[in-house]
């Protein structure tokens, strides 16, 4: 199922021609190979989320091409791309519908693959949902009829993760999806993320501010600064790195040094 994401010469400037002109993406060329799990670093305003939004089609880019699985999606509408792209944001409330049940939420995410039935929720899909929910180890498989709104933030984020991946997307974009969770829950959600990505072999990009997560998860790490990708490491060089090395590499490569808003934690692996 894994796919290649190719960005060639992507640029985006916001509020062009005004005093507030901001070059958010500056001629980015980047290829994520099939099955790559890329962690994305960068201080606030470096263009990480903007890059994700460009891929998601929230705005059209000024220049460049975006290819997913060989298909040019540069000018495709947001909802037309979304079938192939799963995404998850920092806010756990964003990915789920609170007044609908867990089952209905999953049915919604799964609608392109669901069994043929008149009603959106059916027995066969429910069995499948139970199976995937049980992999979370949160007991949600017994609460299919529970409204999403009563779950905790961590549970909702885990459920959102499942919703983003249940339809087997070509690409998974994770925008600091563990940032608003407590450390223990964040660890758990990250572990589930790795497990799902490995099992489904989804090409994944994950934004994080946590250096140990950046090295611990995935097979490749890129850092962004001022709308550019400033370094891209993988393989043995990455294996040998410690979070400290990563911070050093980042400092050396970035124009804007890390500002105080950037949260950098050095946790033992």
């Amino acid at each position: 199922m894994s796919s290649r994401l190719e960005l060639t010469g992507i640029s985006k400037t916001f509020q062009k021609g005004t005093l507030n002109e901001k070059v958010a993406l500056d001629n980015i060329t980047f290829t994520a190979n099939p099955g790559d799990f890329v962690t994305v670093l960068g201080s606030n305003g470096a263009g990480k989320s903007t890059l994700f939004n460009a891929v998601l089609g929230i705005f059209l880019t000024d220049k460049g091409r975006i290819l997913l699985d060989g298909e040019d999606i540069t000018f495709k509408k947001q909802h037309k791309r979304a079938g192939g792209i799963g995404c998850l944001f920092q806010n756990p409330l964003r990915g789920t519908a609170p007044n609908m049940t867990i089952e209905e939420n999953l049915a919604l995410a799964y609608h392109r693959h669901s069994s043929y039935s008149f009603f959106a929720v059916n027995r066969r899909d429910a069995d499948y949902f139970k199976e995937v929910l049980s992999t979370l180890g949160m007991g949600l498989e017994n609460r299919l009829k529970t409204k999403m709104g009563v779950l905790s933030g961590g549970q909702r984020q885990a459920a959102s993760l499942l919703m983003a991946t249940v339809a087997r997307p070509k690409l998974l974009l994770l925008d600091e999806h563990t940032a608003s969770l407590d450390p223990a829950t964040a660890e758990k959600v990250l572990a589930i993320t790795k497990q799902i990505v490995e099992r489904e072999k989804i090409t994944t990009l994950m934004i994080t501010h946590d250096m140990s997560y950046a090295l611990n998860a995935g097979n490749r790490t890129i850092a962004m600064d001022g709308g550019r990708i400033v370094f891209d490491i993988s393989g043995e060089r990455r294996e040998a790195m410690t979070p400290d090395d990563l911070i050093k590499a980042f400092r050396e490569n970035s124009v804007n040094s890390l500002d105080d808003r950037t949260v950098l934690t050095k946790k033992p692996l």
């Binding site: 037309k80 609170p98 609908m100 995410a109």
Partner: protein, 323 residues
């Protein structure tokens, strides 16, 4: 009027306005959108229904009325989604524009009786009572005419059944999700503009159905019938929620109808105690304000009780911002 005939009349009114309550529930409850098109689409349903009824097609007239309402909803939906105009303003714009359209549909007058020349036009209510008379004999209908109530109740029941099923299908689920978390829907493969427009169209089609039924029941169409209808619909939905609580979609639909019935019964009682008819609008507004302010009042009461309890036990200091 006997008590029973009053009750029947109130229920019939309630049932005629029930589709409107369903529409308001869909717009405000499910789609979470303040849609002010409603005052206009009710009249649009009414005038189009009048036009088609006078032309001699009473059943088709109901569907034509619904289609008119759906068209009004389509305009509001397009304003909201494609032109990104604020939801409340979109509704007001459509409603305002509709006044002219309605005036034109009525042939350049502000009200019109359902008759062509001097013969009264046929309506679904007449057709129904004729059918019943044919089957059960001329005197089947007693002193109190239950037939209009039965007919409008049947239409409402059918509407509830269709909607309850629809909101469990994939498309229905998508519309509900759009109201529940539009951000989520926008980042999924669902076209949120489409589901939003479809939801608003459904809501306004139902509102227009009420207008069409009302038109045939009272045998005339009037441009000023729509004023304040949104508040009436909201009152019904809120009363229904007080009666049944906030639960699933099907219960929500049923409770909106129950709210509509209850509202009309309250009005009938108000008439009975000789409140003049012009007080109706104020009464409706007060009912809605009372129902909406319920949570705040409840909070204040518990807070006050808690404060009093603490004051009597001599515990001061923490919390409370007395002035």
């Amino acid at each position: 009027m006997t008590l029973l005939s009053m009750l029947v009349s109130a229920c019939m009114q309630g049932m005629i306005y029930a589709p409107m309550a369903l529409g308001v529930y869909i717009a405000f409850g499910i789609l979470n959108t303040p849609d002010l098109t409603i005052d206009g689409s009710l009249v649009f349903g009414m005038t189009v229904c009048a036009y088609v009824t006078i032309a001699g097609h009473p059943v088709l007239a109901l569907f034509a009325g619904m289609a008119a309402g759906a068209a009004a909803g389509l305009v509001t939906g397009l304003l909201q989604t494609k032109l990104k105009i604020n939801a409340i303003l979109s509704g007001i714009l459509t409603m305002t524009g509709l006044y002219t359209i309605n005036y034109m549909v009525l042939g350049g007058q502000s009200n019109r009786y359902l008759q062509s020349g001097t013969t009264a036009s046929n309506t679904v209510f007449k057709m129904f009572s004729r059918t019943v008379n044919d089957i059960f004999g001329e005197n089947a209908v007693g002193d109190i005419n239950l037939l209009p109530l039965i007919l409008s109740a049947t239409v409402t029941a059918a509407a509830i059944a269709i909607l309850a099923v629809f909101f469990k299908t994939r498309l229905g689920l998508q519309i509900r999700a759009t109201g529940d978390n539009e951000d989520m829907v926008r980042s999924s493969s669902i076209n949120a503009d489409f589901t939003r427009i479809l939801g608003i169209m459904t809501a306004n089609a139902l509102v227009a159905l009420s207008g069409a039924l009302l038109c045939q029941q009272q045998k005339y169409a009037d441009l000023n019938c729509g004023m304040g209808m949104l508040v009436v619909g909201l009152a019904s939905v809120i009363i229904g929620q007080v009666l049944f609580g906030k639960r699933g979609i099907t219960v929500g639909l049923i409770s909106a109808v129950a709210g509509s019935l209850f509202y009309r019964i309250v009005l009938q009682v108000a008439y009975k105690i000789d409140m003049p008819s012009f007080t109706v609008k104020l009464l409706s507004a007060i009912i809605v304000v009372a129902a909406l302010s319920m949570p705040v009042i409840k909070n204040k009461v518990t807070e006050l009780n808690g404060r009093r309890a603490r004051a009597s036990s001599g515990n001061e200091g923490s919390g409370g911002n007395e002035q």
